[in-house]
Symmetry: C2
Subunit: 333 residues, 2 copies
């Protein structure tokens, strides 16, 4: 940051979602991002994002990214840094073909095109949240950085296409982009939902507040996780590192902690005792078990590690972060 620096303008698209809200809170709390001070913030989502209490200039915008002119209107603010987190989630993109392609593919492309068509000189940093859903079984025990994207859902397909576009637009100097594939976020705060991956979080989150949780799969199921706090740290890190170090491959798998359900439960026991563990009710669900079988279990994430991205080292840490960030440090009903 130079003496003349006025700070940077940051746009978050998808600001009303869980990660968007946590990213907003972190940016406002830090007042800076990397070596840059935060000058202003534009929070956009399909629903109006909450207006944070802050001395900073903050615009909140409800907009449909795929509507004509919407992306150009956002880019007209000329943000120096854009977080593109907006997406129709996996289940909905699978159920509604048109809606998923419209938002996840067309919305992303319209955003990229709006940047391309903005008045020169303009070359913002763009951080895109991709997903491990770009990978589809069969795959090795740990997925390496050279492994093909062969998604088994429309959501994964749309994210993989977003990655390809991001690399090409970056290669052409239209923006300076990075795509980060988030692992499954755990412990996900909020109410239990119908996502097939929901149990990874609910078997921790619910017992910690004295509520019952359902475990639909065996304890030997292995999966890769990062806390919401780690996910926000990935985004901030992606926004601040020198992207020349990425070379032409602009998308990478984030590190995660690969653990079994049994290891999750042991961490819960250490944090909250046997009473909490007894609140996990086994209710095998062959449908969920089959879905989860098709998911990656681990990532080598060597490129991400070399670039300084880090996730939690133990599930105890993931549980502790949930207790700190969501429960005010208190455990128990």
């Amino acid at each position: 940051m130079t003496a003349q620096d006025q700070g940077i303008k940051v746009l978050i698209i998808g600001a009303a979602g869980m990660i968007g809200r946590k990213l907003t809170a972190r940016l406002l709390s830090d007042g800076r991002i990397g070596n840059e001070s935060l000058a202003s913030l534009i929070l956009a989502d399909i629903v109006m994002p909450e207006q944070p209490r802050s001395g900073l200039a903050i615009d909140t915008i409800a907009t449909d990214l795929a509507a004509p002119g919407a992306a150009a209107a956002l880019v007209a603010h000329r943000p120096d840094l854009i977080f593109h987190l907006a997406a129709i989630v996996s289940g909905e993109a699978e159920a509604d073909f048109d809606k998923g392609y419209r938002i996840n593919l067309d919305g992303t492309r319209l955003l990229f095109e709006a940047i391309r068509n903005a008045a020169e000189p303009y070359r913002p940093r763009l951080v895109f949240t991709s997903s491990i859903a770009v990978f589809g079984a069969p795959f090795p025990e740990a997925i390496g950085d050279d492994f093909l994207a062969a998604p088994l859902t429309s959501y994964g397909t749309q994210k993989a296409i977003g990655e390809l576009l991001l690399s090409d637009y970056s290669r052409r100097g239209i923006f300076d982009g990075i795509g980060i594939r988030l692992p499954t976020i755990c412990v996900r705060p909020g109410a239990p939902n119908k996502a097939a991956s929901g149990f990874f979080s609910s078997i921790i989150r619910e017992p910690l507040v004295g509520k019952e949780a359902v475990l639909p799969v065996g304890e030997d199921v292995r999966h890769s996780h990062a806390s919401p706090r780690a996910a926000v740290a990935f985004l901030i890190h992606a926004a601040t590192i020198d992207l020349a170090r990425l070379g032409t491959r602009r998308n990478l798998s984030m590190p995660g902690l690969s653990v079994t359900v049994a290891e999750e439960i042991e961490a819960l026991r250490r944090a909250a005792g046997e009473g909490a563990v007894r609140l996990i009710r086994r209710e095998p669900d062959p449908v969920i078990a089959r879905i989860v079988e098709g998911w990656p279990r681990a990532f080598t994430a060597e490129r991400a590690a070399a670039l300084g991205f880090t996730a939690e080292n133990s599930f105890d840490e993931i549980v502790r972060i949930h207790i700190e960030d969501e429960l005010g440090g208190r455990v128990g009903a």
Copy 2:
């Protein structure tokens, strides 16, 4: 084929190109494809395809696939089998960003959407020509079937996106698709062109008719090739095999013959003697050498081999095919 079978209707999009013309000739010569008789042929391209002399019902159509309604008009013929070969080639897609995306991405997607929106029941076989341009350096000595698509050109990006869409639309049962990544076609007939890969063909094609050819790279350069005849055979094979054998991964690298330029030249010597070899003029071009360095040298193509796709086993065979198919079997000026 049952007794009631009326034969199949075949649509070739990109019928005026080199591969399209050879595919048309082969289909008309065979009068059938696999176990099916050929009922009729629709030849479409951006320029009006030549009307072949044939007793068969053949429509020729000049159409811009990316224009509104164009794809739907083609699909309205309700072809049982669609070859989608149309593309803006690599150099032009790199020079004209909008044109490349418009034809290679939007045109392909509009075709897929037209099939999705056609009156039920309709689920044609769709054969899409992808390209080894979906791969970008660095890569291993031989690229395996699990290697990531990380293209270094807009053309490669557009082809990789076409592959992803093809897999997703096939997974959803909209059509029964297969994407085949063609290796560099050699010996490519016709006049020398400005493609960086042109010399692989011209150092054979030109000396065989007593003309000089320029070799811009060293003789140790290794690359993977298949003849035009093999490329047409790939397309026919892709149109006739049981695609359930592909599983969910609908795109695959075709086999090729991986040879060095020195091996090419030795085959030319065996076919046409020392006089022909002396017509190759060494004129090192560092720009072309650098481009070619970024290209794949070989593919394992194990999946393709298991599915029965075969390329030439020797460069002598590639030279012989050129002499048979383009020179009426005669060598010399």
